[in-house]
C-alpha cells in the first residue's frame, strides 16, 4: 500500500521548532562565548551576537520549514567567504602579501588545512614525519587540531564533512546556485571517479618527492588563501595552474552546470571522505515504496551521488554528502535522511532531527570563529 505523503511532513509547528532549536541555542551560546560573554568590546560583542542569532535562526528555520539545503548553504557559503577573508587579512597583516616566501617554509609558518591529509599518510608511515611546513601544536591552524577536527567529523558525518564542514566547499556551492537552470546538462557519471585518480596521483607523487604535491601544484583554493611567491618559471606555472583550476572548476563550471564540480572532479579528500560514508551511522535513504522514479533527485544532486540506476536500486552512492538538496526536492518525501539499521521509510523525522543537530552543531562551532572575525572587522568601521 503506497503511503500518501504530506508534502510538508518534515515541517514542525512554531512552538515545536523553538523547542527543537533550544538545545542548539544553549550549546552554541556556551561554545561561542565560552559561557562568559564579554561586552567590553562593542564591535566584538555585536559580532558574536549577530553570529549567534543568525546561526540559531537558520537552525530554527530548518525545523520550521522542513527544508535543509538552502539554510545549510547560507551558513556554508558564509563560512567559506569568511575563512578566506580572515586568512587573507592575517597574511597581509603579517607578511604584507598573500604569498608566502622561502623563509615561511623554513620557519614552518604555513597554516595547515585538511586537504593535505591524503598526502601525509604514506610519508608518515614510512618516514614517521609530516611533510608539511606547519606547526604541530599551537598557533593558527596547527596540524594536530586540524587532524583531530577532520578525523572526528569524518567518522561522525562521513562525506557529510564536504557539505557541513569543509571551508572550501562553500565556494563552488555558492557559484553553483547563481543560475536557475543549467547550461550544461549532461555530464558522464564516470567523471565522479576522478577524485580517486587524483588521490592516487598525489599520494604517489607526494610520497616519492616528500612534498605536498596537491598543495604545490593543483589546489585551486590558493587563489583565495595563500600561494608561493612567483619568482621562477616553475612558481609561475604553479600560479597559472591554480588560477585556471579555480576559474574553471570553482567558478565557471559550477555556474554552467549547477553542480559542485571542484568537489566532484578534483578534491582528493573527497575521495577519502566518500569511503568514510561506510562507517558513519548517518545516510540518505530511498523509500522504494513511495518513490515514483521521477528522478528529480538525480537532477538536483550537486555531487553526482545519484544516478537513475541508484534510484531504481533504492540506494544512494558513496559520493553523497548529505547536503539535503535531494531531500528537499522530492515531492513525495521518498528520499530522506536516515540512520543505518533503520529501514528506509521508517523514523524519518527522528533520523533527520538527530542528523541535523549533529551536523549543524559542527558547522556552527567550526565556522563561528571566522564569521565573528569578519563581522567584527565590518562593525569596527562603523563603531
Amino acid at each position: 500500500m503506497v503511503e500518501i505523503v504530506n508534502n510538508h511532513s518534515m515541517k514542525k509547528s512554531f512552538g515545536k521548532s523553538l523547542l527543537y532549536a533550544l538545545p542548539m541555542f544553549l550549546i552554541t551560546f556556551v561554545f561561542i562565548t565560552g559561557g562568559k560573554p564579554d561586552f567590553s568590546d562593542p564591535a566584538g560583542a555585536l559580532a558574536i551576537l549577530v553570529t549567534f542569532l543568525g546561526m540559531n535562526i537558520l537552525y530554527f528555520l530548518m525545523h520550521y520549514t522542513g527544508k535543509t539545503d538552502k539554510f545549510r548553504a547560507i551558513l556554508f557559503i558564509i563560512f567559506a567567504l569568511s575563512l578566506s577573508f580572515t586568512l587573507i587579512k592575517n597574511m597581509v597583516a603579517i607578511r604584507h602579501s598573500m604569498s608566502f616566501s622561502q623563509a615561511d617554509i623554513i620557519e614552518c609558518r604555513i597554516p595547515f588545512c585538511h586537504l593535505v591529509i591524503p598526502m601525509m599518510i604514506l610519508p608518515a608511515a614510512f618516514t614517521k614525519s609530516i611533510i608539511f611546513p606547519g606547526t604541530i601544536l599551537g598557533g593558527f591552524a596547527n596540524i594536530s587540531s586540524m587532524v583531530v577536527l577532520w578525523l572526528v567529523a569524518t567518522i561522525v558525518l562521513g562525506r557529510g564533512f564536504c557539505s557541513w564542514g569543509c571551508f572550501y566547499g562553500g565556494w563552488d556551492d555558492g557559484f553553483s546556485r547563481l543560475r536557475k537552470k543549467p547550461v550544461i546538462k549532461r555530464i558522464s557519471d564516470s567523471w565522479r571517479w576522478m577524485p580517486f585518480a587524483v588521490l592516487l596521483m598525489v599520494a604517489i607523487t607526494a610520497a616519492l618527492s616528500l612534498t605536498p604535491t596537491y598543495c604545490s601544484w593543483i589546489c585551486p583554493f590558493k587563489a583565495v588563501t595563500e600561494f608561493e611567491q612567483v619568482t621562477t618559471v616553475e612558481s609561475a606555472a604553479k600560479a597559472g595552474v591554480f588560477i585556471s583550476l579555480f576559474l574553471g572548476l570553482v567558478v565557471i563550471l559550477p555556474v554552467l552546470t549547477r553542480k559542485r564540480t571542484q568537489c566532484s572532479f578534483l578534491c582528493p579528500l573527497g575521495a577519502i571522505s566518500s569511503l568514510s560514508n561506510k562507517i558513519t551511522p548517518f545516510t540518505v535513504k530511498i523509500d522504494k515504496k513511495t518513490c515514483n522514479e521521477c528522478f528529480k533527485c538525480v537532477d538536483v544532486c550537486p555531487l553526482f551521488a545519484l544516478t537513475h540506476e541508484d534510484v531504481k536500486n533504492g540506494k544512494v552512492s558513496i559520493f553523497c554528502s548529505k547536503c539535503g538538496k535531494c531531500v528537499d526536492a522530492c515531492s513525495r518525501k521518498a528520499i530522506h535522511y536516515g540512520i543505518k539499521g533503520i529501514p528506509a521509510g521508517d523514523m524519518k523525522n527522528f533520523s533527520r532531527n538527530i542528523f541535523l543537530f549533529v551536523s549543524f552543531l559542527f558547522i556552527a562551532i567550526f565556522s563561528s570563529g571566522s564569521i565573528i572575525t569578519v563581522l567584527k572587522s565590518v562593525f569596527n568601521l562603523f563603531i
Binding site: 614510512f126 596547527n142 596540524i143 577536527l149 567518522i155 551511522p281 548517518f282 540512520i339 539499521g341
Partner: protein, 148 residues
C-alpha cells in the same frame, strides 16, 4: 535481528552526537594527545635538520645543522645542509664552514644582506651549490646543496 539493527543504529547515532558535543571543548586535549604521536614531527626537508654545532660570536650565533638526505625509504644521494645566523648579524656575512665535522673546511660563504647576494666557494667536491638564501625572522638562513 531487525530490531537489533535499529537499536545499534540509533545507539551509534547518539554516540556520534555525544562525540560532536565533546569535540570542541576537548579539542586542546585531543590535539595535545595527537601531537605526541611518534609521526607528529615535521620532516627535516622542511625544518632543516637538527642543530649539529653552534658558533657564538660577539654579534651573532651561527647554527650549523646536520645535513639532510631524508628520503621515503632510507636516504637520498642529494641533500642539503642548512646554516642559520641568529641575532644581530652584520650586513656582510662571511664564514668558512665544516659541515661534516672532519676538521677540514668544506665551503666558504659570503652573503651581502643589503644586495641579497650569496656567493659560495666549494672546497669539498660534495658541496654543489646554494639552494635557498633568505632573511628570516631570527636573522638569515642558507641551504647549501650537498651530496653524500
Amino acid at each position: 535481528m531487525k530490531k537489533i539493527k535499529i537499536v545499534l543504529g540509533i545507539f551509534w547515532a547518539i554516540l556520534c552526537l555525544i562525540i560532536i558535543i565533546v569535540l570542541f571543548p576537548g579539542l586542546n586535549s585531543f590535539s595535545s594527545g595527537v601531537s605526541r604521536l611518534p609521526f607528529m614531527k615535521i620532516n627535516p626537508n622542511f625544518t632543516g635538520g637538527e642543530a649539529a654545532e653552534q658558533i657564538i660570536t660577539e654579534s651573532c650565533t651561527l647554527v650549523i645543522r646536520k645535513p639532510v638526505f631524508d628520503g621515503l625509504i632510507g636516504e637520498r644521494k642529494h641533500g642539503f645542509v642548512q646554516l642559520d645566523w641568529k641575532g644581530k648579524i652584520p650586513d656582510i656575512i662571511s664564514d668558512t664552514i665544516d659541515y661534516d665535522m672532519d676538521r677540514h673546511p668544506d665551503f666558504s660563504i659570503r652573503i651581502n644582506r643589503s644586495e641579497s647576494s650569496t656567493i659560495l666557494h666549494a672546497m669539498n667536491p660534495k658541496v654543489k651549490k646554494t639552494g635557498i638564501s633568505t632573511p628570516t625572522s631570527y636573522g638569515w638562513s642558507v641551504r647549501v646543496k650537498v651530496v653524500k
